[in-house]
Point group: D2
Chain length 406, copies 4
């Protein structure tokens, strides 16, 4: 068997913004023997996860589960609703928005990339007024879809999806609203139905605390209607057959059985804790993390407090410091994985994930690893971030609702 | 946690032709915590599996691993090599060949479906002379690819891929040769390079003994060249970026980490035993299974002994018997899952899988479950299949190469 | 990691009469991380298992759980109740009764070994009239305890414990009744309170379907009273401190935490199925196993049908055949472990376990392995045992109570 | 399945001085299906662990492995070597030394309890001169054994075993030397042979990183000789039969199979890292922990720096503070388990374990939990212990020997 931890002892701290740490309960659920995907047990499993996942998306409409990782769900959202050469309005919030745009191009669509100049858009969320203005200008309705990222994993900036919906409506434009919340789902509040989203794209390896390998499209009736006209070739990603087979808890082709076991367990954990408590927990840990970055005297990538991500925090390095060299030092000395800077901010920042199965002490450990690694890298810090985080945590006491008898 | 076995006690026997039973070693390997897919441990894992999987396909050329189940790899083989409206010559060997054809249509290709009339093609392998004749007739080389299934999972019939290659060459035709060996790989001998296959499609949940969720394209240089001209839109399935990232053991988007753990373990098991011994084991178990069916006085779906599948055996029910009712009786009484009849043979047959992590006694158990279930269903049997299988096994003694010190 | 299966592929069949196969659910429960044995979670675990285990012993009195394997619980039963030099009446039912007697001698007790001559006692259960006669003769009440084995693991013979109780009462003798049901508990009906047993000894690795490592003393009030006078030195095995600490779910010294996780799961499985259904399942499989032995024309070790064990069946070899050579052949060819002959019957018989997590097809597989191995060993069989077992199973239809929606 | 973590999310931090956190690799190894304890695979397993464990004890003499938790190994050391009424010289280092003495009394021995007055002995290690003086006074050699604890788990104080050996030799006394290193083994240097120890007692759940359930006696020739004369009744604990069966890798009674799987894995991990590196790692983490306690302005239970434990650190509370109330606050808010104060120091201190599978960030997390919990408990701290620990760790850089290719 491969020995996969290169460090001699102790637990690895996986604080990238996904894959997030997979709880033992889920790893154990996933190790149940694979069953017949056409048998009665599978049907029961399928109905359970298809029902539960709707609660996470806050939707009463279909959620399609793909046996493929998240990039596939991006592709699915586009191929099901659009036709070759269609114009789509995409918004540059960061690296993942950029990748989604590139994917749209590869599929033969014509994405128009809206955003603030330079890296400014990488530090603020979507500006709905820009979208509204652009749509108003599109009097011929050439734009078929508006695509935005809810939680930019590359920056730690969220966007106000309800406001994007309002912008589209204000412009009186019929474009579909497609949203990527791959790293936001189950960590930040998300409301597919209430916000009027047409397709929501997500994946397993973030707030759902699963390994990568399954991904999602939550689908509105308007999107379903559009899919009947859409001309992009599609087979594997086609919604219709899947939704049909899902009625009895099955899939038209082989599903990713063991990840569905994990999903059933994750739903049990998340819905058992309650989404509101899950979101509050994320907010509190994110607050403590930002307190640490501030105490260090370092800059946070997100410059608008209204859109701080509860999922991850981007930490900007002082001028002249190679963020990846710092990350390497931290990894090698302290067995801690942080997210790298991607795209336009490569080498300029690293990202601390504080999502999913994370608690106060795990976050402190991660911040301790950062603080020590920054020092070993010769970076002058204004103060102790760990101490600031502890102050934050003890002054925002959230005694967990223990299941302990008195 | 979901309780997924509806039976009160004892182990489920999963004898469908895939997903095949996942060995404990692999389930355990898969339950290792998910790691950073951009970290050094992952790179080591990636290089290990990318190297090992080539040995399974018997190729020195790239094998692309997708974080998606097998149907996706079908799509990938087509979208990487073909353009909208291309004619492809497909061969009807059974239900999965039919599904692949339907998928090609969905993608906007023009598949031409060759084969024997009625269900005759479902009982014999590919007839290379038909392919040769058709290609000779295609003097304008409108046909861009020939697509055949190596081991028809719906029937238990294999096809002679080397002979198909010879047929194409004899016709002097430039079409690509695309082969599906989703259920054949690592159970039946397969030689991607030697047989001159351009794209081989496979999946994880059969001979590789993994859960479903990853799939493969082994790719020839000719296929790579074709991919540069191919016009079908593609992004998630695109070979170029993946092969590029694979050089260091990484993927351009999030891979299915925990299934790759399992793949590393599976490669260790299969290459440790040795492919030749693995194939011989499958042949022996298949022989015992057919001895049982013959003893029962029932018909085997495959009528040409030259192309009996070592992976599964299709058992045809006597006229008037509903095969699915028999399967249900067997499942409910004996906690044994068998493959259903698919497509043209729905209700007419069931399939016994004897692939992957199967041994003599597991096969006997499955045959015992069939024999008892057939009797409980009121079907008159000529004799005991289990007894015949035992005779076969003891007269084809294969004392395993035990790792026991004398 | 050690590779522990010497066979190249497929599942090992563990059909010794214990350790019995440990279900995946239990292995998974046991792999939960070890917790603080003085913390609140542990207290909840402790109270759960201490409550549940009483239902298995059918007792309202304390059940002491030791972090030690079964032999320790034998020692505990004696050291808690007896004093150096005490006479105990033990009954020779087979090898384990003999070992218990030897253990008593090692502890400085004076066991008197009652039984039928030669190996006759190894083929029949306890004869209560012999016990009654011996106790009547003991007018001075020198005998302090009567020790019998409920299910002799070495022979496949049970004994009527209620009848032993009646014999003691009929003799008007005050001796304690100590019973070993290490291999009987949770497979054969057992009633600690109703049968008036003073100490019942059991272990984890049989009907409870756990790995070895924890063991039990169910204790009557009379035994507790005796323990206050008993003079054998004791510390680790002392009941008083354990029972005291158990009130809050704890132990006075470090318990075997992970096996207690497994026990909680096992109790959930067994009590969920219902003890009566569990016992009926064992009886049915035992019946099928004996049908096979009869069909082979071989002798069953137990000669009194009234006391056939539902747990295991001893199969006597024809004169001149070395049973261990047969077992070795079966193990090497078919990856099947059978129980060896022990003590007086060494080399004369082997034992087929059909307890715990066993179902129809697992038993058939085991019988198939035996039948083929017997043939490979050159032993002439009268007929097919597997066929006879299938006939038995289909004529004793026990369609399991499936949790399948209609 | 029992849900055993009462906290809603994130990983529990188990920082009691044992059970220590069990690494995933070991939990996974332990979940391999239980095998026949008399079969060939088991023999291979047995020989592997019996060989490896000697390297941990640094002995060429037998190490007996019991399927019982550590208290049993205490009992075994005494019952194998002593006779009823024997005088043994025991040394009061703390609560576990006291418990061992009580156990000796329960077994009918006459322990004489040496030590410094009050709780002074609980803050310093064994004083060898006191032992030497007492033995010199025992001219009639009434004392049969000297019993000391190598690493007092209740205090965080070690003792110099080599010096105890020299003291015995200097007195020219024939008493056996029995040492408990239940919590020291594989964390602190220990040399059974070189130090002339006659019986070393240890357990699985500390430095070996296993769950509780197996325990050890390393045995000298002199101890073996003594065991032939020793008259305490013994059966389960008897060395002779076990050592005899161990020659082929087996045990005379049912061993704790799944914990032996874990032991094989643990040996692989520890011997793979190298004992010297393991010890250095423990020393470094212990240094960081003490730096934290000092920075808080709190007292360390151990007052002699020469005998600081590398395994755990006892933290004394300010006068008037209930240590268990602080522990409860820490547990409830931060999901961190600390060791309670035991015996004479109950309520006065808590213990931080930093043994086994621990690394820098796990220790920091634990210290962070303590620091926040102390503050929430209203205890004034002089400074930040976490900051001090980070300073210690970065100034004692131990870049781990990573298995990373350059």
């Amino acid at each position: 068997m491969l020995k996969l931890d290169f460090h001699p002892a102790g637990r690895h701290f996986l604080q990238i913004p996904g894959p997030s740490p997979v709880p033992d309960r889920i790893l154990r659920a996933m190790s149940y023997p694979t069953i017949d995907h056409r048998g009665p047990e599978f049907g029961a499993l399928g109905l359970t996860v298809l029902d539960g996942i709707k609660k996470i998306f806050k939707t009463a409409q279909p959620v399609v589960i793909y046996p493929a990782s998240g990039t596939g769900a991006w592709e699915a959202a586009l191929t099901n609703t659009l036709s070759p050469g269609d114009t789509v309005l995409m918004y540059e919030t960061g690296h993942f928005a950029t990748l989604w745009k590139k994917l749209a191009e590869n599929l033969g669509l014509k994405p128009e990339f809206l955003g603030l100049p330079g890296t400014e858009g990488w530090r603020r969320g979507v500006q709905p007024d820009l979208i509204e203005a652009r749509l108003r200008a599109d009097s011929g309705h050439a734009i078929k879809a508006v695509c935005v990222v809810h939680n930019e994993t590359s920056t730690g900036v969220t966007s106000d999806i309800a406001a994007v919906r309002r912008a589209i409506d204000a412009a009186g434009h019929p474009a579909l609203l497609l949203v990527d919340t791959i790293s936001g789902l189950a960590s930040a509040d998300y409301r597919h139905d209430e916000w009027g989203v047409d397709v929501t794209v997500s994946g397993s390896q973030k707030g759902l605390m699963l390994p990568p390998g399954i991904s999602f499209n939550a689908v509105s009736q308007k999107a379903l209607d559009a899919s009947r006209q859409a001309k992009l070739p599609r087979a594997f990603w086609g919604w219709a057959e899947i939704i049909e087979a899902n009625h009895l808890g099955y899939w038209p082709y082989t599903p990713n059985t063991n990840l569905l076991y994990g999903l059933a367990e994750a739903l049990d954990m998340i819905l058992g804790e309650g989404l509101d408590r899950v979101f509050a927990r994320h907010q509190r840990l994110a607050g403590a993390c930002r307190a640490a970055v501030n105490a260090w005297g370092l800059e946070i990538q997100c410059v608008d407090p209204a859109v701080y991500s509860p999922v991850l925090t981007g930490v900007v390095m002082p001028e002249g410091v190679d963020a990846d060299a710092v990350r390497k030092t931290i990894y090698e000395h302290f067995d801690l994985s942080l997210g790298t800077g991607l795209g336009k901010v490569k080498g300029r920042m690293f990202r601390i994930g504080h999502l999913g199965d994370c608690n106060d002490l795990t976050l402190l450990a991660a911040l301790g690893g950062c603080e020590m690694g920054l020092k070993l890298s010769g970076i002058a810090l204004r103060g102790s971030g760990v101490t600031a985080a502890m102050d934050y945590l003890t002054s925002h006491v959230a005694k967990p609702a223990l299941k302990v008898a008195a």
